[in-house]
């Protein structure tokens, strides 16, 4: 049985919802969750930090006259859930409202071939030893290698006063590798990750390649010079390069920011925000991708949402609440880190669709510019559109050729200008994993794109 009944008895759910609406409210919901996981790491060629845990709990919310009343508890005993319902309703002063009878309907979860919980811990330790060896064998200048393994399973059930009763069973696995290269006093680091909403089968195809990749990055940086400073064309690499779009545009499309006027994209629906060559999507249904789930954390099935079409802004990303505010349909983007958090509009897998340009041509047309292959991370102020990105692998472009590696570069800009300045999108395409933070909540997200060129952007380096 994989339905929501396994976690949350429908009779209990109905009682909890009735109690949540005992003092009024337009909507009530109970979200129950059981999360279990295992993480381990290798450092100094020694397996350590082996951690294993199980957490259970539930959150109950009541919506009334624009205010959300929320309570959460650890534990899934009926008494725990009813206590949460009473706490959520405690500040309300209205007349009882009646929830509708529940109708169970849960789409199938992402398929998992080999549940990681069934794989012996020793096999996971062995995987980390492979990563460690691969990184250390990449060159004499590799001074250190670290790697980590993490698996998590989240079983969730959600029931609401509109009669929805759904659930999901989510398994994710992820490994990360980090290498430190040293030459004299010079020390550089490189990192790579591999993750998916899949089982242990993800590691069938030479997973230790990511350790080799991390080591290569660190070694490359040993030869790096200072990053250039100034305004120039910037070519962004595929895969994790998509974090740029995630940060500079994706967050501004989340409807809660938009509705508060705290997004530079507020009021721009239907307007041209990019050149016609640009199309972009958020898609929580991509099979096995890191940001994919069967339903969002309000029970809405996930979907593909086209957000930019031919350079025009065509959709925002909604949870139930933001959708109701403008009589739109929820887009399956109501996500929460856990039962301890309220759902808010969040991206799932966000990507720039492949274009027509050859990556070589995108680089070849640049006289003098910067090639940002991957980022250490970045952040954006959705209200102003100002963003900043740390580049962890970057190169100079001179006369159409990728030349010397640079370290310590930062890209700084404003999203409206940078998005409009994208003048080439590559026909290569892949996705990478990310952990996105917003409002104190972290959720897994996928980012993706091919090579993308921004005609003009500020590069902040150490070279003056």
């Amino acid at each position: 049985m994989s339905g929501p009944e396994k976690l949350l008895d429908p009779g209990v759910a109905e009682r909890v919802l009735a109690r949540a609406l005992a003092h009024g409210g337009e909507f009530a919901e109970v979200f129950a969750e059981r999360r279990s996981g295992l993480t381990l790491a290798i450092d100094e060629s020694r397996i350590e930090s082996v951690q294993s845990g199980v957490e259970e709990g539930a959150g109950v919310r009541v919506l009334s006259a624009g205010t959300t009343y929320f309570a959460y508890v650890d534990g899934l005993d009926p008494a725990d859930l009813e206590r949460a319902a009473s706490e959520a309703a405690a500040a309300l002063r209205g007349d009882r409202a009646e929830p509708q009878a529940l109708r169970a309907q849960a789409p199938p979860p992402q398929p998992i071939e080999r549940p990681p919980g069934e794989v012996p811990a020793a096999r996971k330790a062995e995987l980390l030893r492979e990563l460690d060896e691969r990184a250390r064998s990449a060159g004499a200048e590799i001074a250190q290698a670290m790697a980590s393994y993490g698996e998590a399973r989240r079983e969730v059930a959600v029931a609401n006063s509109a009669g929805l009763f759904s659930g999901d069973d989510r398994t994710r696995v992820r490994i990360g590798a980090q290498a430190v290269a040293r030459r004299g006093g010079r020390v550089e680091t490189g990192a790579e990750t591999l993750g998916a909403a899949r089982g242990f089968e993800l590691f069938d195809d030479d997973p230790a390649r990511i350790a080799a990749g991390a080591a290569r990055k660190a070694l490359t940086l040993l030869d790096a010079g200072p990053a250039p400073t100034g305004t120039m064309p910037v070519v962004v690499g595929g895969g994790f390069g998509g974090v740029l779009f995630h940060e500079m545009t994706g967050h501004g499309l989340e409807a809660d920011h938009v509705q508060k006027g705290a997004s530079v994209y507020a009021g721009k629906l239907g307007e041209t925000v990019a050149q016609p060559l640009l199309a972009a999507y958020d898609d929580g249904r991509l099979p096995g991708e890191w940001g994919s789930d069967a339903i969002d954390d309000e029970g809405t099935p996930t979907q593909q949402t086209r957000v930019i079409e031919d350079g025009r802004l065509v959709a925002f990303l909604h949870d139930r609440r933001s959708a109701a505010k403008e009589s739109a349909a929820p887009t399956g983007n109501g996500r929460r880190e856990s039962f301890r958090h309220l759902p808010i509009p969040r991206m799932t897998n966000t990507y720039i669709a492949p274009g027509e340009a050859e990556p070589e041509a995108i680089l070849g047309e640049v006289e003098k510019g910067f090639y940002a292959v991957s980022f250490a991370g970045g952040q954006v102020d959705p209200a102003t559109g100002d963003f900043v990105f740390g580049v962890n692998e970057g190169y100079l472009i001179e006369a159409g050729e990728v030349t010397r590696p640079c370290r310590g570069a930062t890209l700084v800009g404003n999203c409206l200008q940078a998005l409009a300045a994208i003048d080439a999108v590559g026909n290569d395409f892949w996705m990478k994993t990310g952990i996105c933070g917003k409002g104190g909540q972290k959720v897994p997200v996928g980012t993706g794109q091919g090579h993308v060129r921004i005609a003009s952007m500020t590069v902040g380096g150490t070279e003056v």
């Binding site: 951690q51 957490e55 959300t68 330790a125 559109g385 500020t458 380096g461």
Partner: protein, 453 residues
Amino acid sequence: MTDLAEQAASAVQRAVAAGAGDAEAYATEAENREVRVHGGKVESLTAATQRGLGLRVWIGGRVGYGFGTDLSAEGLEAIAARAVEAAGAADEDEFAAPPTGNRKPPDVSGLSDPSRAESPPERIAELALAVERTALEADDRVAAVEQAVYFDSGERVAIASSSGPGGEYETTSCYAYLQALAEAEGEDGRETGLGFGLARGPAGLDPVAIGREGAERATEMIGSSKPASGSCPVVLDPTVAAGFVGLLGRAVGADAVQRGRSPLAERLGEEVAGDAFVLHDDGLDPEGFATAPIDAEGTPRRRTALIEEGRLRTFLYDSYTARRAAAASTANAGRSGYRMPPGVAASNLVVRPGTVSLEQLLVEAGEGVYVNDVAGLHSGVNPVTGVFSVGASGRAIRGGERAEPLREFTIAGDLVSMLRAVGAVGSAPRWVPFGGSVSVPSLLIGEMTVSGS
């Protein structure tokens, strides 16, 4: 013994019965509340109870960790079994052993503020609304407040161990913040400004000061432009300085040092900062939010000089790194909750205030940049080398005074060079919760790379 201390002790016994040589349990129970307001209305009101337990076990030199939310007898049994199983997957570590020592923890009072429990939801909602209202009324150019938030927490912690150290304590804390949005006619775009305050209880928060700070920080940025690239004196606002001090706190952690991942690894006793910069780790500062009688593995908290007369005096140790270095623990085991085993972490990082007012710091800077905010401290820093390049915004300094607003620039350098270039330390410190618990005044950095247009 309280229920929580009993559960911790019971978990330890169960782990030993399940095959652990030694065990240590960390149990926590918390009540949290949060209010979010927007547009004069309460957007959400949250009430929560949380509990959980983390169990660290040693089997020879192998260490395992288990955690869970079920603290019933069966639940504790399951956590013990998971921890013991986890240890089986770990490799031997010759330095792995449980913390020892039976020193009596110091008496630390004032960690709990009764005003938290005495404030009903209506009162804390009014506090958050007052923060928003103050910002909107402070200046016509404040167009909106994206969100004003109040949060408070009351937490109990109990630690039990088969090897000695343990104890329990209770703390309360609360904070409020807002993000104000400002715009002006004839100017493109809008500006945001953060205002915040923190205290042990709501009675210690000043909603008017918080609202005004958000409004001022947003409105002062109207009409901002990029500075010219170059090297110049830089004054760091306390909120910005705190982020860098937090980085420094990680760099002096013995764990990073022993694993060769700290820019300070080979510099014990060396000159690493300007004379004006004096830094302590103080786990007992009555005003600090990391203050407690014991650290996360039960060692009594203390005060440790880190940088004095410009020299690096010591690293920060927990029991494991202390054993590895044949040193004593500085009581710097920290935790980010029961889900994670303890690791080396600074407690309260306190930069000694200087005698120079902010006005004098600006005069000393002469021509330069005042940095009000940085972005990307998590992504723009190489933790091994301390080399950083982060996005920044702030004000120009002209003729020793703050002048036009600046945005979309970066400041770059490396941590040690920046510390050595500290020319003067301001006289008005502030507690800042970003990057740990840090108390720091404004800092004057003699020279830094600024990249703009």
